[in-house]
């Protein structure tokens, strides 16, 4: 089975399940019809029903396509490769995506408790490190990341506070008094 078929099967199954969950969850929506109104449950159920039906079509289409391909046994099956990439360096791929996403989650999680400035500096330094071209964190680079992160975080805070009169969370830097 080609990677394209696998993708479509995952899509079909995922959205079928989502549709089914929505249909079940819609049963709990209270119905308060006014005049000829259809109520709040009707549209989600209808859309989820259509989505479930489309998922089944996608599933069947993908299976049929995959079987046809296997029959034809084309030798020139195009394997999915990230061909456009000319030169990959350092930390990349799913691992890097996972680490970046965790970094984002930690940033968002610490946004209020630690405050905007500290959480942003931590996030920016780590993210610049993850994304840097050769993933080599030399002392010179680390200093640059820290300086840039601090300038960005403080500048953004001041702009929001002074210009927009919209203070961002200060977290542990907040003056208790």
């Amino acid at each position: 089975m080609q990677i394209e078929d696998k993708r479509d099967l995952i899509t079909a199954v995922a959205f079928f399940l989502l549709g089914a969950v929505v249909i079940v969850a819609s049963c709990n929506i209270p119905v308060k019809n006014v005049g000829g109104d259809i109520g709040s449950a009707f549209l989600p159920q209808m859309i989820a029903g259509i989505m479930t039906f489309l998922s089944i079509i996608l599933f069947v289409k993908t299976i049929v396509r995959s079987r046809r391909r296997e029959k034809i046994k084309k030798e020139d099956i195009v394997q999915e490769k990230s061909g456009a990439i000319t030169k990959k360096q350092g930390f990349y791929g799913n691992k890097a995506v996972f680490v970046s996403f965790i970094n984002l989650c930690v940033y968002v999680g610490l946004f209020k408790p630690l405050g905007f400035i500290i959480s942003s500096i931590l996030f920016l330094v780590l993210q610049m490190g993850i994304m840097t071209e050769d993933s080599k964190a030399t002392p010179k680079k680390i200093v640059l990341w820290i300086v840039l992160s601090a300038i960005t975080a403080i500048a953004v805070y001041l702009i929001f506070y002074e210009v927009f009169s919209m203070p961002l969370p200060m977290g542990i830097l907040e003056d208790d008094e």
């Binding site: 993708r7 995952i10 899509t11 959205f15 989502l18 549709g19 929505v22 969850a25 929506i29 119905v31 019809n33 005049g35 000829g36 109104d37 259809i38 109520g39 709040s40 549209l43 989600p44 859309i47 989505m51 489309l54 998922s55 079509i57 996608l58 046809r68 456009a84 990439i85 000319t86 030169k87 990959k88 360096q89 350092g90 930390f91 990349y92 791929g93 890097a96 995506v97 970046s100 996403f101 984002l104 989650c105 940033y107 968002v108 946004f111 209020k112 996030f123 920016l124 993210q127 610049m128 994304m131 840097t132 071209e133 990341w145 960005t152 953004v156 927009f164 009169s165 919209m166 961002l168």
Partner: protein, 492 residues
């Protein structure tokens, strides 16, 4: 002639210049937008006279909508929801090594869109406003339904996946309190979900976070190293301009049309113009590949919409969107009550507003054109630094929109979803279109049903019936066409 001198004075011109610059900055930074710019600057206008105050607000509005294209082109993250569709072609053109041309086209057609909207406001505001006032819930629903059927034109390959993506967008938009009866849907007892997901969270998640994750996954040499900044004139030839006239007028009319319908705004105008231009184009295959067709459709429409939203404001006293609602507040603070009487009682002020809008558009055009070199230089900043800072700004923008931490959690959810969509090759555009239109569609459908008691009215009122029929017809036609194409490709 006297109106010219009211606006052409040092103070008013300086305020228009200031408003344009601040507006462009708000428009260009993802997360900040024209509405925030106008809302934040409204208190400054209290002490000004009415012409100065309104001129500042209008310059902020026009600047905010125009500035969105800068980040849409250079970062592939729309600076403002109104430039969402600019990413699809503007971002691609920049990626193909022509960021200057993409900006040049976007800036010029933004200007044309602005002027088109202003001219329409000047010439036929009362007539257009009267036409818009004929739109009841049935007509609104029919228009939104027609727009939803255009999801099929956004299919990149498999139509089934595009439709599934659209359904998912509709369902996600249904989370929260339902229109009409206020029933809570899919909130799972989480109070923050009562208001549903903010558009800004969806947009930032789908574009900014996905872009960061995608860059991390397929790490490439830093920056757009092959960018050669060569741009002659405005970025396009006269022949190309003539060739694009039809596309431009279609986009401008859609933008204006959506603008004059109260309560919709530039985001819907932009995406609808894109799909309309794509579906009526002789070369729909060009859209999404980095062509000027797509940039023109997107940028002409969102700016024509600005003039459009002013029409119901001045002619009926009904704001066309959130920004004009704040402008309405600004007018009322100065003792001006917009509406049909405004043409009689404050006719001079309407003329001043149009002159201020025109001056703002010219200033925005000159400023942006002059700064293209500077904008493009942004691409020389290493991606690791640029995208990290942009991600940080996006998170702040999403938070500042409602001062809710929940909105930044939502950014992450949409970021993960957007990344999954890209990896599974599910088109994201139908999801976004459906997400944006769901609330309008459901509200007007249910309002129509509650008002008239049955569905008959949707098919017996002429404007409504026409839109519904065209919508169903185009959907069926595209599904059939896609089915035929897929059969041919299998047998080939």
């Amino acid at each position: 002639m006297a109106e010219l001198f009211t606006v052409f004075n040092g103070v008013t011109l300086s305020l228009i210049l200031l408003g344009s610059v601040v507006g462009i900055i708000f428009g260009a930074i993802p997360g900040l937008n024209a509405t925030m710019a106008v809302a934040l600057c409204l208190p400054f206008t209290y002490g000004m006279d009415s012409v100065n105050g309104i001129s500042l607000l209008l310059a902020l509005y026009f600047g905010g909508i125009s500035g969105g294209l800068i980040s849409a082109v250079l970062l592939r993250i729309p600076g403002t929801p109104g430039s969402l569709a600019t990413v699809w072609d503007g971002g691609k053109m920049a990626e193909n090594g022509e960021p200057g041309r993409a900006l040049g086209i976007g800036i010029t057609y933004s200007f044309i869109g602005n002027i088109f909207g202003i001219v329409c406001m000047a010439l036929i505001a009362p007539q257009l406003a009267n036409f818009a006032s004929k739109f009841g819930p049935c007509e609104y629903f029919a228009l939104m339904f027609f727009a939803l059927t255009l999801i099929s034109t956004l299919a990149e390959g498999d139509m089934t996946k595009a439709l599934i993506s659209g359904c998912a967008g509709l369902l996600v938009a249904m989370i929260g309190v339902a229109p009409m009866d206020n029933a809570r849907r899919f909130t799972f007892g989480i109070p923050d979900l009562n208001n549903g997901f903010a558009l800004i969270s969806m947009m930032i998640g789908f574009f900014a976070i996905t872009e960061v994750l995608d860059t991390v996954k397929d790490k490439q040499p830093e920056g757009y190293q092959k960018v050669k900044f060569e741009m002659k004139g405005l970025g396009f030839t006269f022949a190309e301009f003539v060739d694009q006239l039809g596309n431009m007028f279609r986009a401008a009319l859609v933008g204006l049309g959506i603008g004059i319908l109260p309560g919709i705004g530039a985001t819907a105008a932009n995406i609808l113009a894109y799909v309309t231009c794509k579906s009526t184009s002789k070369h729909p295959e060009r859209f999404g590949t980095g062509s000027m067709d797509g940039i023109i459709a997107s940028e002409t429409s969102n700016n024509a919409c600005c003039g459009g939203t002013m029409i119901p404001l001045v002619a009926l006293g009904i704001p066309g969107d959130a920004v004009t609602a704040i402008v309405l507040g600004g007018l009322m603070i100065h003792g001006i009550v917009p509406g049909p009487q405004m043409f009689v009682t404050n006719g001079d002020l309407i003329n001043d507003m149009m002159i201020a809008c025109t001056i703002a558009s010219i200033i925005i055009f000159i400023l942006q054109m002059g700064a293209i070199h500077f904008f493009v230089k942004m691409l020389y900043i290493p991606k690791s630094i640029l995208l990290s800072i942009v991600a940080c700004l996006c998170i702040v923008g999403a938070y500042a929109n409602n001062n809710r931490v929940f909105d930044i959690y939502a950014v992450l959810v949409f970021g993960a979803l957007g990344f999954a969509f890209r990896r599974l090759k599910i088109p994201t555009a139908p999801f976004m279109l459906a997400f944006i239109l769901e609330n309008y569609c459901e509200t007007y459908l249910r309002r129509g049903l509650a008002t008239y008691g049955s569905i008959d009215q949707f098919f017996t009122r002429p404007i409504s019936a026409i839109f519904i029929m065209i919508g169903i017809g185009s959907l069926v036609y595209r599904i059939y066409k896609n089915y035929k194409a897929s059969k041919t490709s299998v047998t080939a």
